[in-house]
């Protein structure tokens, strides 16, 4: 589903070049659950950004469903994003919209009809366990609940891939584990999940493939991996 071929990413700021990724290659199959682990600055987030094309690689190819997205045109970018659901550490919810409106928004932008929206949104809120909070605003619910809203939004347009960048970073251990369980459940239903985290406990409990990064290089790739740096 996703293949990185000798990908290199250098961030340029003035005359200073920072190598974020150095000759990275890996393949993620459909329906896999892959965790990227490593210290801050190891390159986890950069890999995710390259997948949803927020950044372009300095060198190498990134193949997504047979298509090289490192050369994606800006007008095609929205369509690429609609195939992916994204979840972030800071939730990224629209503060002036209700929970329902936040989730509905992902469908509105891709031109779903109002009927489809009325059907899908309550369904997905039920799945993440927030059926009763549809009319609340983000600031009225807990961090764990906000992250569930973000997951609901990422899921509602039924993407083939969910990308989660430190989704548990702002949460207490119990809420964090709830979120991870939700991601595991989504994965079981057939969605590919790519997770970036430096939470050791989380990774050890998932018991799925773990790719370990250090200073922009892959140093380990185990199919039933543990957090070990």
């Amino acid at each position: 589903m996703i293949e990185f071929k000798n990908v290199k990413k250098v961030y340029q700021s003035g005359s200073i070049n920072t190598v974020a990724l150095d000759d990275i290659s890996f393949l993620i199959e459909q329906k896999e659950f892959v965790s990227f682990v490593g210290h801050s600055g190891a390159g986890k987030s950069t890999i995710l950004k390259l997948i949803y094309a927020e950044e372009k690689p300095t060198a190498g190819e990134i193949i997504f469903n047979g298509e090289d997205i490192s050369k994606i045109k800006s007008k095609d970018l929205p369509y690429h994003r609609r195939r992916i659901g994204t979840v972030f550490q800071d939730f990224k919810l629209l503060t002036k919209k209700t929970i329902y409106e936040n989730v509905a928004f992902a469908l509105e932008v891709s031109g779903h009809t109002n009927r489809e929206i009325h059907e899908s949104v309550p369904q997905i809120l039920e799945i993440v366990g927030l059926g009763s909070k549809a009319e609340s605003y983000p600031h009225e619910i807990s961090g764990g609940e906000q992250q569930r809203v973000a997951i609901a939004r990422a899921l509602v347009h039924r993407p083939a891939l969910i990308i989660a960048d430190e989704p548990t970073g702002n949460l207490d251990p119990i809420s964090a584990w709830g979120i991870i369980q939700l991601l595991i459940k989504i994965n079981k239903l057939g969605t590919t999940v790519v997770l970036a985290t430096h939470n050791k406990e989380v990774v050890n409990n998932i018991k799925k493939r773990v790719i370990t990064l250090d200073q922009g290089k892959i140093i380990r790739d185990h199919s039933k991996g543990r957090y070990a740096i």
Binding site: A53, S74, P78, R81, L93, V109, S110, R153
Partner: protein, 303 residues
């Protein structure tokens, strides 16, 4: 899909407008001020033009001929004067016509009528009323008549009494045209800059929102249109407020520009222009809003 995008973005434009409170107020007031300044300049130059046109229609030079001058000589003078390129028209008013006009003008004053009837011969003089193409040329015309071969037949030329009014209008209109054009350009630029900055500020406020929109796969149009609509709504509101404010302001300002004597006439014309000015303001306001929004949002839409 296009219709769905339009209705959804229009709705969200309205939501932005009403949910943004203080920023909306700031943007609308700045835009109102800009429109107001621009319209005042436009209205002033319209009033000045109207005033001038009114005066021009009223003003002429009257050349009175001595009572013993033959009509044929006056007609010869008239046809010669009509050849001047500065002269728009030259109308001959005979003694009898002058008397009829005089009677008509004083119909309500029986003493004057009696007095004039008491005189056996017609005391009024025949005249040629000359209108110039350009009010600045009256002086030239008057001078050339004074120096012509007809000067011995002429009893008087009443040009001096209008000279003051004409001069005053000429200077006023010149000043308004010159400074008006300059101010118009200057304030338009300032208005665009300020509006642009205010709208940029509101969009900056929406930075995270735009980021989220992009992440969930909103197309550029879907992100851009709400701000464009918001800009249009700013413009419409500002145009309405500016138009409401314009009336009393003009009432106070016009007398200083054109002299109180002509205010009534000008304000009557101004009402006719009002709808035109309002439509122009709507258009200008919406245009300012849209241009500012488009410029301000550009940097958020890059990859």
């Amino acid at each position: 899909m296009i219709l769905l995008t339009l209705t959804r973005t229009l709705k969200s434009g309205f939501q932005n407008f009403f949910r943004n409170g203080s920023l909306t107020v700031a943007a609308v007031s700045i835009l109102t001020l800009a429109l107001l300044i621009i319209s005042i300049i436009i209205v002033l130059s319209i009033s000045a033009n109207l005033g001038l046109k009114y005066i021009q229609d009223k003003i002429d030079i009257r050349v009175y001929f001595k009572s013993d001058v033959e009509e044929s000589q006056i007609m010869a003078f008239r046809s010669e004067i009509q050849k001047y390129k500065e002269v728009k028209s030259a109308e001959y008013v005979s003694k009898n016509k002058a008397l009829d006009d005089f009677k008509a003008n004083n119909a309500a004053k029986p003493d004057i009528l009696k007095a004039i009837e008491a005189v056996e011969t017609n005391p009024l003089l025949a005249s040629v009323n000359i209108k110039a193409v350009d009010p600045e040329q009256y002086e030239v015309i008057a001078k050339s008549i004074e120096n012509s071969s007809y000067k011995d037949n002429i009893a008087s030329i009443n040009y001096q009494q209008y000279k003051l009014v004409i001069d005053r209008f000429n200077t006023t209109i010149k000043t308004i045209r010159k400074t008006g054009a300059l101010l118009f350009i200057l304030f338009s630029l300032i208005a665009i800059l300020i509006t642009f900055n205010v709208i940029r500020m509101t969009i900056y406020n929406h930075g995270t929102e735009i980021e989220i929109m992009r992440l969930v796969g909103a197309s550029n149009n879907f992100i851009r249109l709400p701000f464009v609509f918001e800009g249009v709504i700013y413009g419409i509101f500002a145009a309405v407020i500016a138009s409401i404010l314009l009336f009393p302001i003009m009432k106070i300002v016009t007398p200083y520009v054109v002299g109180s004597a002509y205010v009534k006439i000008i304000q009557a014309d101004f009402v006719r222009y009002f709808i035109l000015i309002f439509i122009a303001q709507l258009f200008l306001g919406a245009l300012l809003g849209v241009i500012s929004s488009l410029l301000a949002i550009r940097r958020y839409l890059k990859i």
